[in-house]
């Protein structure tokens, strides 16, 4: 049998190819070294994405400061361009690793940033409200940069795969990004509400969305997150059931995910009720997101057996 021929390295992983095999394979054992060709493509995509998101952020800030409609439109346009470039950066990474992008922390963060951008763009177009962009773009940019500028991570053998697993993870990350968006909207709500109550309006209040619209946007975002996390969790259990010999049905991550689900259902119910509508519901939404962050960090890193990066 002929020895595998090394055809190149990605930034993250060596790619080897069996003679006659058209599919590249990841080899955990090989030294991580960049392949010049893939590296060039990644650099172009990296720069394009950062440029588009950065410009979009600048334009959103300018729009918030001056109210110039043209700046707002351009900001949306560059956000869309950033999404496209970011998508290809994720695709490039996926091809390079020959696995899903959320196989390590950085890929997971990058996907989170992309889904956050996608969710926000959808909400912006649906509600025709651009002034929130200046508050969301920094998160997207930070997640993208952290994911792509951080040192490469070593991978474990890819035993987690298949469409069920892919949908489980993608939907879970979509839910987290939707919850992150509702968190940002709730923070803006509380800030604007405080300014309006204290009569310190300044320039910005006139350009921020009305309070009731912020509430509605936050609820819409939570609804997207709830549906995603519910389906994602069910798919996760289906996948665990299939691999019951490898994975236990008890994991701290399962418990905290169900808690997150419950907390957001409670928020969704309370946000329309007499006693909770307004600032109280926004505070609850912020608290819920703190639990999401705990789930994403403490639970993943120290308590979970099967969830590391999502």
């Amino acid at each position: 049998m002929q020895a595998p021929v090394r055809v190149g390295y990605t930034r993250y992983e060596a790619i080897s190819r069996e003679p006659g095999d058209r599919h590249a394979r990841c080899r955990d054992t090989e030294r991580v070294r960049p392949c010049p060709q893939v590296q060039t493509v990644n650099q172009v995509l990296l720069i394009s994405t950062v440029f588009a998101y950065g410009l979009s952020l600048g334009l959103y800030l300018f729009f918030l400061n001056t109210g110039r409609e043209l700046a707002g439109r351009l900001a949306t346009l560059f956000l869309a361009a950033g999404l496209v470039a970011h998508y290809f950066a994720l695709l490039e990474r996926t091809r390079g690793l020959h696995t899903v992008p959320y196989h390590d922390l950085y890929g997971s963060m990058s996907l989170f940033g992309w889904l956050l951008a996608l969710t926000y763009l959808g909400l912006e177009i649906y509600e025709r409200q651009r002034s929130v962009g200046a508050f969301v773009l920094p998160f997207i940019l930070v997640f993208f940069l952290a994911a792509h500028l951080a040192p490469a991570d070593r991978l474990s053998p890819p035993d987690a795969h298949g469409p069920t697993f892919a949908f489980h993870v993608t939907l879970s990350i979509l839910a987290y990004s939707a919850f992150a968006l509702s968190f940002v909207l709730s923070v803006i709500y509380l800030g604007e509400e405080r300014l309006l109550r204290s009569h310190k309006l300044g320039n910005m209040v006139w350009r921020l969305p009305p309070l009731e619209l912020l509430e509605r946007m936050s609820r819409s975002s939570v609804l997207v997150g709830l549906v995603s996390i519910a389906i994602g969790t069910v798919l996760g259990f289906v996948w665990v059931d299939r691999l019951s010999d490898k994975y236990s049905f008890f994991d701290w991550k399962y418990g905290i995910t169900l808690l997150v689900l419950l907390l957001y259902v409670i928020y969704f119910r309370l946000a329309r009720t007499t006693a909770w509508r307004g600032a109280r519901a926004s505070k609850l939404c912020i608290f819920n997101f703190v639990v999401v962050v705990l789930s994403f960090t403490v639970v993943n890193l120290y308590l979970s057996h099967s969830h590391r990066y999502f």
């Binding site: 309006l196 009569h199 921020l208």
Partner: protein, 425 residues
Amino acid sequence: MEIVLVGLNHRTAPVEVRERVSFTAEQARRAAKELRARGILEETLDLSTCNRSEVYGVPPESMHECAPGLSSFLSEFHAVRPELLGVSLYHHYDREAVRHLFRVAAGLDSMMLGEAEILGQVREAYRFAHEHGATGPVLNRLFQGALEVGKRVRTETELGTRPMSVASAGVKLAERIFGKLSERSALVLGAGTISEQVVSQLRDRGIKHLYVMNRSRDRADELVKQYGGEVVGWGEWETSLQSPDVIVSSVATEEPVLRREMVERAMAARGNRALFLMDLGMPRNIDGSVSNLYNIYVYTMDDLSEIVQQNRSARQNEIPRAESIVEEHVGKYLSWQASVELVGLVNALRTKMREERASFIRARVESIAHLTEADRAFVEKLMDEMLERLILEPAQRLRGEKELRRKIQNVEALRDLFLPDREKP
């Protein structure tokens, strides 16, 4: 191609004079017809609003000669003594006339800086004059430019966005909380002048339900008759406070009309939905502690006055940006005007040179008598070619270089230099 403007506005004439010189639609049509029939103007447009009455035109002769005739016409047309009108009228020519119109369209010349209505009035005046054939290429280009300036100033600056009255500031604040008011309801306590202003603003913003409560039912009925809505009997607090999202209070009273416990009960009944309260009374109509209740926003007359003051400063800060848009478009217009005039000048220059060449040959025919007819024709052809070459390059540059056209704005000076005896095309 020259433009003349004669008019008066709120700065130069009192309202008594302005209303006498104002044009109705029919008067504007008749005035345009007469001005052209008498040969005072070739193209004309009357812009008449509550704060100004202006006539824009393109004179057949020199613009400076046309202005006195135009002033006399206005005096005669409106039957106003010339000496009364003379002190109020201003005259602007060409660049200044263009700049004036662009500033008017931008709202920079309005009594309330940045008002929105003026752009619609300019558009309507242009549409009317255009439909009646009173405008031509010059005024068409000028007014299209003015509409573009007005639109740009409103989209690119904040000159017209901030509310400038207590009533409009209050209603805009309500929109900060509820968004569009088309699905909201409002209760107005009192039916005086301030209440009426707020009701007018609420109606402009499309408020869905309007309730008016006043001690004197007759006055409330009058207000409702004018603006629509429903009269609520004075004192029906329990029912009337539950549904509205906006409550405006402007009644003369020594004790607060809305006390904390009343509002608390109303909030409980309305499921804590946000409530915006405008207290425009003096002394205050709403108990001060109401503002501490959950989901309630209270603004007093002082709060709203302060916002208006801030907005006035903010609008003032936008003036340089608006002025720069105006200047940009004045430059564009003058460049277009210069290009049209320069093409005419080049054509006239070509004709003049050919005539000069013919007269030159005729004057020196003796010295070239020894040449055959064919040789003479050849010499004439060579001279024509040389002249054409002299004129061709500048003509091509004028067509191609916008910047050059912008620089050469005084075409008349060039005309006087090269063609002192010729009449304007």
